[in-house]
Amino acid sequence: MLDIFVSIIVAGLTTGALYALATVGLSLVWGSMGMLNMAHAAMLTLGGYVAFTASTSLGLPIGLGFLAAIVAGAVAGGLLYVLIVSNLLRHDKSTFESNVMIATVGIGIALENAILLTYGGQPLKQPLSVSGALVIGPVTLPYQNILIVAVVLVLMAIVALLLGKTRMGRAIRATAQNRDAAQLLGVAVNRVYFQVLVLSGALAGVCGVMVSSMTQLSPPLGNDPMLKAFIMCVVAGLGNLPGAITAAFGLALLEAFVQFVAGARWGFPSLLFVVIAVLIWRPSGLFGRAQIRRM
């Protein structure tokens, strides 16, 4: 009984950590610029594959593989801003929200397909993973899971420090809370948008490495975490970072539990049910403030 319980908790915490990482990237972008990045999934996948190439074909050490994934994600985020977002921001502001969503859907498909064409569709093993497990009595804790939770916690701490303590982070939060005021104080919001997309891309890169180390590398790798991350964001209220992290862990535990009790196929529908219930009860999310709509 205990071992089952522990394995549910371990699975829930690990996926929760992954979801939290995916969710923070999405939520950051939504919160500061009102943009829902549908290409986030493909950026995740990109990170996983770049780490794969770095450590197999190029034979780089694991740390550099990680770094390569981060850089690739950041570059993808930067390019997304320069090529797409900056142009859409020049159009009518009222259509930005839907336009950017559609445009990033297109970019996401293109990127996923480019990965498919480059690497092929067959699943690959992510070399950036550790084997073995920590055994304490009846409880088995795989090192990979411990590593994931640890890395995610470290990254969350870095993001929290970045947003809370640095001048750049303060400018990002200011832009999210009141764009006009931030501009009046000298914040170049376009630069903030660029920074946010780069940061979110870097997080997506790491997340991709983590997700693929738990499963396998395949072109649609990022889709499932992104869809779940959307749900976490909606439950928490889009743009609310601490809420998103709480929702990510809470819902992941719920999913792991439902999957164990009712079978794997009911995991996702149960999350959906929670979302609908939350949204009917509180349309701007559990922790959402009455959302300021960006016009």
Binding site: R170, R173, N178, L185, R289
Partner: protein, 241 residues
């Protein structure tokens, strides 16, 4: 002060602006010299807020010219802020989830170094001691008067050449309005350049050096505030009193 040789801090020439099809400002011209306190008075909906938002770049300029220290302004709001235009917007526009201190620090976003930030912070806390008490409180939990003070404090933290203040009395109780204007008077006395818009000319009668009456996007009268208050026909026509 030897202002004569220098160009005015702020100079508007035939400024035209508006939103979409709507033309709000229809050719506004006036100057604000260093150390001056200039007020624009007019009924609501006649372009006072648009005037300040155009100067600070939030509303794009459609015609005419705006100069800060003689330098032509034609850029985005953040670049105009860097020229030394400190705008205290209508409704404060604080960052609701930041503390008072963080709001003030955001004001010093463009400050060159830590020492300068500390100097400005000292200055603001001396002028507005209440903010020092509440420095760790979240902005959204403040009262209306306190928020206005944070708004003004944040504007001061910019260390700008000119302070644009948009209706500081809006939505406040009479007693608080008096306090806020006390602070503004203090600022003016200390030699700051101020451009303030207000609905009620009586509030600025003792403060402002110059007053412009704005009606339907154009300036219809200019002069010392006391002169306007003495002319009942103007007050009746334009301000309904």
């Amino acid at each position: 002060m030897s202002v004569a040789a220098k160009p005015p801090v702020l100079s508007l020439t035939n400024v035209v602006s508006g939103y979409k099809e709507l033309q709000v400002l229809k050719g506004i011209s006036f100057d604000v010299g260093a150390g001056e306190f200039v007020t624009v008075v007019g009924p609501n909906g006649h372009g006072k807020t648009t005037l300040l938002r155009t100067i600070s770049g939030l509303v794009p300029l459609r015609g005419g010219a705006i100069r800060v220290n003689g330098q032509l302004v034609s850029a985005k709001p953040h670049a105009i802020a860097a020229l030394g235009v400190a705008h205290v917007p209508q409704g404060d526009l604080l960052f609701p989830e930041m503390s008072v201190l963080e709001n003030l620090l955001m004001g010093a976003y463009l400050a060159p170094n830590r020492a300068e930030i500390d100097r400005r912070l000292d200055e603001v806390f001396t002028l507005l001691p209440k903010l020092s008490e509440r420095r760790h409180q979240i902005a959204s939990s403040l009262s209306g008067g306190e928020r206005r003070m944070v708004g003004i404090g944040r504007g001061l933290m910019m260390g700008g050449q000119i302070l644009l203040i948009d209706e500081p009395s809006l939505g406040l109780a009479p007693l608080i309005i008096e306090q806020i204007y006390g602070v503004i008077a203090e600022l003016s006395r200390s030699g700051r350049t101020i451009l303030l818009v207000e609905e009620n000319p009586a509030r600025v009668a003792d403060l402002a050096d110059k007053l412009h009456l704005l009606d339907d996007g154009a300036i219809v009268w200019s002069g010392p505030p006391a002169d306007l208050l003495a002319r009942d026909e103007l007050l009746a026509t334009y301000l309904g009193g």
